[in-house]
């Protein structure tokens, strides 16, 4: 009987970093000769992507199989993982510190605190923990887990080789400088810093510009409302909240972006940085969390800048040919290294460790 390597996820949606990682891992497992499916609670599955996954209730791991749990945010997935006779591996993507949500969503903050508590027991009962970055592995280091490994988040450019979305193209057809942010609208992302920085850039440097904020606003609606209020109060109609973009829509935004900027304070890795680099867009990121690892010296990183200084830094990345060229050259080198990765070899080595 063929060994199964199944993955259990807390949620599934196109363009979601964890979902993409799981899909790429699934392809690797299948290439290695395993049977492999993704299991997700139906209530946490984007209907548009439902064909890619099976309901969590259908999961039935056997002794000798392997179960990979992506994070510990869904109690149903955690329960299935803990009860399975299969060998267990935790894929650790990080848990946002709950304190960021205390003011906006205490219930979510409580869930995140519970997840942090559950993380240790789940990690200790797993054969191995595959963190997506050394930063994440470092968070677990204090627990002295015997099999803590780093398998950087997987990335494939295939899903960006799409025809550009004509609807999105029409929306951003005016030839403006496009400053792009991609990510959930969550307080740890510090999107308000981007709006304040854009205010300075737009008013003082280049009025022919727009800030495009793309990502789900459902994870913390009150924070998203705060962002909209800020853009309104600063009279910035060129701050565009695009919501969750389709794969073709996202590819269009990257293709038309002048610079990608994130002021996020907490990231386990930050896949959009890689996506932007793959699209040949210069990136600016706060030097924190797993982002320095994702960039590995490429692009522009900063620490401690005010929003006004960040706005001017956006200007340098867009308008200064030397700065832009240096950033893009370093990113090309980083992308070459990422493209040279052999995920099958990396996964095979991890499986041999079990």
């Amino acid at each position: 009987m063929t060994i199964r390597v199944d993955q259990l996820l807390a949620g599934f949606a196109e363009n979601d970093a964890i979902s993409q990682d799981a899909l790429l891992l699934q392809a690797v497992f299948r290439d290695l000769g395993f049977e492999s499916d993704l299991f997700v609670s139906q209530s946490h599955t984007d209907p548009a992507a439902a064909h890619r996954v099976r309901p969590m209730t259908a999961y039935a791991g056997r002794a000798g199989d392997l179960a990979v749990l992506h994070d510990v945010l869904d109690p149903e997935a955690v329960r299935a993982f803990q009860e399975t006779p299969a060998r267990r591996v935790l894929r650790y993507h990080n848990i946002t510190p709950a304190g960021y949500f205390d003011a906006f969503d205490p219930a979510l903050a409580a869930r995140l605190r519970a997840a942090r508590t559950a993380l240790r027991s789940v990690a200790e009962r797993s054969r191995s923990v595959w963190s997506v970055s050394a930063f994440n592995a470092g968070e677990l280091a204090a627990w002295n887990l015997p099999q803590s490994r780093v398998l950087p988040l997987l990335f494939s450019e295939a899903r960006f080789r799409l025809d550009l979305d004509p609807e999105m193209l029409a929306r951003i057809s005016r030839p403006l400088a496009n400053i792009l942010f991609v990510g959930r609208l969550a307080p740890n992302k510090r999107v308000e810093e981007l709006i304040l920085a854009f205010h300075g850039y737009h008013r003082a440097v280049n009025p022919q510009s727009r800030l495009i904020i793309t990502g789900s606003d459902r994870s913390c609606p009150r924070y998203a409302a705060m962002l909209r209020l800020l853009a309104h109060a600063l009279d910035l109609p060129n701050v565009c909240f695009e919501g969750f973009a389709s794969p073709a829509g996202l590819a269009t935004l990257y293709a038309k972006a002048s610079v990608f900027v994130t002021a996020s304070e907490h990231e386990g890795y930050c896949l959009p940085l890689i996506e932007a680099m793959a699209a040949g867009v210069p990136v600016i990121a706060r030097r924190t969390g797993g982002m320095p690892e994702a960039l590995d010296g490429a692009g522009i990183q900063y620490e401690g800048l005010s929003s006004a200084q960040l706005g001017e830094l956006m200007g340098l990345a867009i308008h200064d040919p030397a700065v832009r060229a240096e950033a893009l050259q370093s990113q090309a080198g980083r992308m070459a290294a990422i493209r040279a990765r052999k995920p099958a070899d990396e996964v095979r080595a991890l499986l041999a460790d079990l």
Binding site: D102, R222, L229, L234, G297
Partner: protein, 148 residues
Amino acid sequence: MRAIWLAGKDRTADLLPRLDRAVVGRDPALAAQVEKQAPIAALRNASTEAEELDRWLALLRAHGAVRTDRFDVPGRPGVAGDLMRGVKRALWGVLRYQHERVAVQQNAVNSQILSALEAVCEEQRREGAALRGRIDALEARLPPEARP
């Protein structure tokens, strides 16, 4: 610590002074505009959800109005851009009675919705306090060892 890295190299020494010079050279009104809106970004610093809600509602009161009189008309650079900007500004002035009427109607709607929201919040608070009082009274009747 303020620092900038470009392509993996610490470029704070040459890039940060450039940013600082540019920021110092900006119109001071820009910094004042940002300063004025600081309470919005500071919502994240509320210590409880209730405090955040109170502050949010107060901010909505302050920012819920649509204004069309001080409307920034953007323009493209160059003579043609300046000309078009002038035309748009003039048109905006000519259409004042139309867009101000729309703004007044919108503000009336915003104000009604906000008032209703405040009333719902107040009602919920009263109801919560009353229920808390009843629970406290019921718990007081329990023997001490059975109280939560």
